[in-house]
Structures are given as C-alpha cells and as structure tokens.
C-alpha cells in the first residue's frame, strides 16, 4: 500500500488540524519541516470536521482547509463532514 500525504502551513490554525488528524488517524506520521507540517499515512487519511471543531472550539467548514493547504497526494473525497485522501490500489 502506498502512502497518502498532506502538507499544511505551520500556523495556529493548522496546529489544531494536525491534532485532529493525529486523533482521527492514530498511526499517521507527522513531519515538521521549515514553515510546514507534512502528515503521511499508509493508504488512507481522514480529516473529520467534528474533531477539528472540537480542537478549535469553533465551527469549521471542511473547505477552510484550502486556506492552509500546501500539497497532498492521493485521491480526494470531500463532503460536509470529512475530507478523505486515499489510494485505491
């Protein structure tokens, strides 16, 4: 299985998103690089709106992810409640 990955700008908002990703995907790898945070996981990675909202303490629209997103790898599926990255092979 290949790794999917996502990279976010290293800032206050992303910190909560990264915490949420770690909670939703317990075996993901978080890599800190200058000004950015890269998260990898085998096969599939999910960002759940409810978990991000709990970490941030406010409403969060899944599409707000666009603001701090740097890059990603994998097939994207997005709806109102979650954002999924996945390889299907």
């Amino acid at each position: 299985m290949s790794k999917v990955y996502i990279a976010l700008q290293d800032n206050d908002e992303s910190r909560y998103i990264v915490e949420a990703i770690e909670e939703s995907n317990p075996d993901s790898t978080v890599i800190h690089q200058p000004a950015m945070i890269r998260i990898e996981r085998e096969g599939r990675l999910v960002i759940e709106r409810a978990v991000v909202e709990e970490k941030m303490g406010r409403d969060w629209d899944v599409q707000e992810l666009h603001i701090n997103l740097i890059t990603l790898g994998g097939n994207v599926d997005e709806d109102d409640d979650q954002f999924v990255l996945e390889w299907k092979q």
Partner: protein, 500 residues
C-alpha cells in the same frame, strides 16, 4: 423561514452543473471545435467528478482570505526591510531566476487554462479550469508584487518579462509552456494539469519554498505556500482529468500514455533549473535535490502510478534514466551557469568549502568522483585571478532547448548527444527522451526559436555577445551578470551588514 443551508454536493450541482445549457440552434461541434482532433473520445461529460466541489462563491471567499493574509505579510516584510533578513546576497539570485524563469509561466498557465476553460464540452471541467486560470493569474501577480521589493535593492529583477521572451536559458521554461499551449486541450491538461501540477510543481513549491523560509525570506515562502494552497486543488484537477479520460474510452489509454511519456520527460528536463537552485543557490540547505526527488517524484509519483495501473497506465518512459539523473543534473547545470556566468542575468559563484562538503555528503556516489574536482580547479583559477568564463555559445537541444550539458548516465564523462534528420536538415538533442519527442512531431519542433541559432542568424542584434546581452536582452552588463564576488549586489550587502 430561514433558507436551509445547502450541502456541498447540492451546492456544487446547482452552482456548477446547472450553469450548462443545451445547444438547440447551434451545432455543438462548432461550439467546441478542439474537442475531437486529438483522437480523445468522450462519451459522457456528466461522469466528470470534481472531488473538491468548490463553487464560485466559496472560491472567491477563500481566495480573498488567502490574499488578505498574503498582503498583510508583504506589507510587514516591506515595512521592516525584510530583504535584510535573508541569509546572504547570494540567495537573492535564486529569486532572480524565479522571477525571470518561473513567474511568467504562471501567466502562461493562466492563458492556457482560460483557453481550455472555454473549450471543454463539459461544464464541470470548464468551471474547474476557469478557477485554475484565475489562480494562475493571482500567482503571477503576487510573485511580481513580492519580488518588486527586492527589485528596489538588488540588480537583475528589472526586465524579467522582456528577458523571459529572449534570454538563452529562459527559452527553456518559455518553450515548455508554448509547447503545451499550442497542443490540443486534452494534451494541455495531461501536460500541465497532470504531469506538471501533480508531480513536478511540488518539487518547486514545497521543498524550495521551505528552503526560502530556512534562508530568512518571509515574502517568498509566503507567496509560495499561498500559491501552493491553490496547487493542491490543481493537483486534484489533474488527477481527475487523467482518471476521467481513461474511464471514458479504452482508445484514450495509449494516447494518454504517450502524453505522459512526453510531458514527464519535458518536465524533468525543465526542473533541472530547480535542482540547481536547491543544491547550489540556497545557502542554508533544507534537503538535497536528490532527496526532494525521492520524496516527491519517486515516492509520491510512484504511488500515483501504482494507482493508475488499473487503467493500463505504466510509469513514464525513461523512468530509469530519470532515476539516475537525480545524482548529476544539479551539478552539471550549476557548472554550466558558472562557466557562462557572464551571459546570465544573475550572479554565480564557487560553492564554499562547507557547501562542497555538504554536496559530498549528500551525493556520495557522484560528487567527489565527477564534480568536486571541477570546483577545486575553479578555485585554483580564481585564486590566480583567472576566473573562467567560456567564450563560446552552447549548442542547444532542439526539443528542451537546454544547452547540451547532460552526460550519459552510465558514463558521466561522456556528453549525451543524439540527432535526427528531417527534410534534409539535421537536428540535435540532449537525450533519447528529447529525440523521441521530436521524432513524434518533427513539424512542430523544427519551428523552435532557439536562442543561440537566433544569435548566429543575426536576429538578436550584435555583433558581439556583449551587445546581445545589453541591447537585446536588456541586461546591465557588468552589474547583473558575472561572479557574485566584486558585484554591486555584494558591495551593497556588505555595506548594509557592516562587513568590511
């Protein structure tokens, strides 16, 4: 009663798909005249899926937010003399190359996506391409804006747009996009939307921008990551295009594979310049080109091609050559620029001893054996006051337009040269990849505007190289070019920093 908020999927359906109309009194084929000539078969545009489902209203909202953040940082950067925080004056030369070589590509991408955003028969693809077109326009504007600050303090930024259309090494990126834009709309999408955006721009906008941050350049990392936040959407569009074409008709598979072979090769050649920027032009190193290549091409691209294997798509042709090249190309390119430093619009230099050691450590199989001896020789020459500049003009590859600087990968002491004869004329290439591309469409590539040929034909002023540089390229000769040592840039930097 308050209106119920639409969910993303319904909103996407209403605000994207619902914008289309049927052609009742006009011929649909005349409305989309470019859709069939490439041989691509589309049976049902409704099968198009945009996973981000971004609608125009959300697009404006989030883009406005990105811009506000970005410009607040530009203001702060400028008000606080941010240029003084970069690591040293050498670093700024990477930005000169970026502004002259990369930013104008954003403008070409804007033009290309505006074109395909009109020409596709499916509304989902049209809207996604129109958004991307606006993104690309935003990118070129923000990049020019960010670097206008450096233009106040450093040489070599002033004529970026004029130079992009003329200068010998800038014809490499320029012709890459001209090639893609003069292809049909589906080839353009495979070239730029997929090959370039999905795999190759990552190498430019992720490790290089992280490198900008590591070298104290707040403005560049900010525009880079702001642009890259759009790229994530572009990558998704690129992947969607590929999957859509492959699912529409089995006859599309060999056509798409041929384009992937062509554009991955074109892209890796283009990225030679980024390899050199990362290994030689960033004084503080984040990762070597080789490592970046392994992460973003081999690992990320490998996963992608494994995913596409179910459609019958294989890795791009020449993947084995490409794998070997990661050990060599940055060194071969910087050496070429160093020896042609009088004809470049930025400064060049010999890496410091510490940097040479870093290169030795990062490239244990190649650097000491093939490249370090060149720099030791350059050091000796410089110490004797005989800093070397070549007096010749390089032969260019007819396809990628890069000087013939690459070697055979199995014998790095042997220059790589190929040729083909077409209509009684012989054409020269840097590689099998570039020769194949020419042989497939010779009528296209015989028209290449090769800067060195143009100089020899008398189309770029002259008679001497210096006249071409100053009058035709608009370089400030003796100011913008030559070694960083003794340059006005270096002198000013030392004055600002109180370095004797």
């Amino acid at each position: 009663m308050a209106a119920k908020k639409l969910n993303i999927k319904d909103k996407y359906r209403l605000l994207t798909r619902d914008l289309d109309w049927d052609f009742s009194y006009e011929d649909r084929k005349q409305a989309f005249p470019y859709e069939e000539f490439e041989g691509i078969k589309i049976t049902d545009w409704n099968k198009w899926e945009d996973p981000f489902r971004l609608t125009m209203d959300s697009y404006w909202k989030y883009q406005a937010e990105k811009e506000k953040k970005l410009y607040a940082i530009f203001d702060a950067f400028s008000q606080n003399n941010g240029h003084l925080n970069v690591v040293d004056s050498r670093y700024v030369n990477a930005l000169k190359l970026f502004l002259t070589g990369v930013s104008p590509l954003e403008y070409q991408a804007y033009q290309g996506f505006a074109h395909v955003g009109r020409q596709f028969g499916g509304v989902g693809a049209r809207v996604a391409c129109q958004m991307q077109s606006l993104d690309e326009l935003r990118h070129v504007q923000t990049q020019i804006h960010a670097m206008s600050h450096y233009n106040k303090f450093f040489d070599g930024f002033q004529e970026f747009s004029h130079m992009h259309d003329r200068v010998w090494y800038l014809s490499v990126p320029r012709s890459f996009f001209c090639d893609a834009r003069s292809a049909g709309p589906f080839e353009f999408m495979v070239a730029i939307g997929f090959s370039f955006e999905y795999v190759l721009t990552n190498l430019l906008f992720v490790p290089f921008m992280s490198g900008a941050a590591h070298n104290g350049d707040m403005a560049t990392v900010t525009f880079g990551f702001s642009a890259q936040s759009d790229e994530a959407r572009h990558m998704t569009l690129g992947l969607e295009v590929i999957k859509f074409l492959l699912e529409q008709h089995e006859d599309n598979v060999p056509i798409v594979q041929k384009w992937i072979d062509k554009w991955f090769w074109r892209g890796t050649r283009l990225l030679t310049i980024v390899a050199m920027m990362m290994d030689y032009m960033l004084p503080n190193k984040v990762m070597s080109w080789k490592e970046a290549w392994e992460v973003y091409f081999e690992e990320a691209g490998g996963a992608l091609f494994k995913d596409l294997a179910r459609y019958g798509i294989r890795m791009p042709k020449y993947a084995e050559t490409i794998e070997k090249e990661k050990e060599h190309i940055s060194h071969q390119a910087w050496w070429t620029f160093y020896t042609h430093g009088h004809a470049a619009g930025f400064h060049t230099w010999i890496p410091s001893d510490k940097e040479l050691d870093w290169l030795s450590a990062q490239y244990p199989d190649t650097f000491d054996k093939y490249y370090r001896p060149l720099w030791e020789l350059a050091k000796e020459q410089e110490a004797k006051g005989e800093r070397f500049y070549t007096s010749g003009l390089p032969q260019l590859c007819q396809t990628c337009q890069i000087p013939m600087l690459f070697t055979e990968m199995d014998n790095p002491n042997q220059n790589s040269m190929r040729d083909s004869v077409f209509e009684d004329e012989r054409y020269h290439f840097c590689s099998d990849g570039c020769k194949d591309i020419f042989d497939e469409e010779p009528e296209k590539y015989v028209q290449s505007w090769l800067p060195v040929h143009q100089i020899f034909q008398g189309n770029c002023g002259g008679p001497g190289v210096e006249d071409v540089l100053s009058d035709y390229y608009k370089m400030n000769v003796g100011v913008d070019n030559m070694d960083i040592k003794g340059s006005p840039d270096e002198k000013r930097w030392n004055e600002w920093k109180g370095i004797a």
